[in-house]
């Protein structure tokens, strides 16, 4: 069983050219076609409080 809580996921994928693929910084002439993926947000933890009263 893997990824039981669905914490590793992608929510978008497109095809594009990676202009940093050559490992020598930015160079559009050595760009390589590749998948581009949009990574889903990881899990987080938030804690909150709510207060209400009759003021007037």
């Amino acid at each position: 069983m893997s990824n039981l809580f669905d914490v590793s996921y992608y929510n978008l994928g497109v095809l594009g050219k990676n202009d940093f693929a050559a490992g020598t910084g930015f160079d559009p002439t050595t760009g390589r076609p590749t998948q581009f993926r949009s990574v889903g947000a990881p899990m987080g933890v938030w804690v909150g409080v709510r207060y209400s009263s009759q003021l007037l």
Partner: protein, 181 residues
Amino acid sequence: MFGGSFGRYALEAEGGGSRGAVDYFATANRVSSNGWARHNASRVAQVFGKVGYTSPQTRLTFSVTGAHNRLSGAQTLPLGMLTDPTQSYTWPDYATHHFAAFNATARHRLSGRAVLAGNLYFRRLLSHELDSNTNDGFNIALPVDGANSPGVNAVAESRATWWPTSMPVTGCPDAGGHSCR
């Protein structure tokens, strides 16, 4: 209010009530996040307030709405960069919205069958969006300057202002005994 991961917190407050013929309500909220990835922080601030006056023949209200938001987006990453998914391929990518609105309404019953009603408002929205991209035409052999930049940014900006388009004066004809609401 809440707070937690990624520097994300929210504050929200609201209140309202009435005294005699006057009623009022106000709310404000603030959400802020540093984002779970780099260059991914967003801020939202919104306020709304309204006061009203009611008498047997008359109803008046005045409300104010405001927003000051900046939302940053996460881009797609090439497969080779997914080893650290908090990276950005290019940045910044964000949209800002600044909004203000004022609205006044009045309604007065002239007689059993006639009502005078009007609405006066002013709204203004300033939007700014920036999407950074790499420049396919960049030549690394040439010096970087205005004509040879590694990045090209798509910038969209809009300003919109609304003024009242109508001030309706509503009369209620005798509609077969139906009362005017």
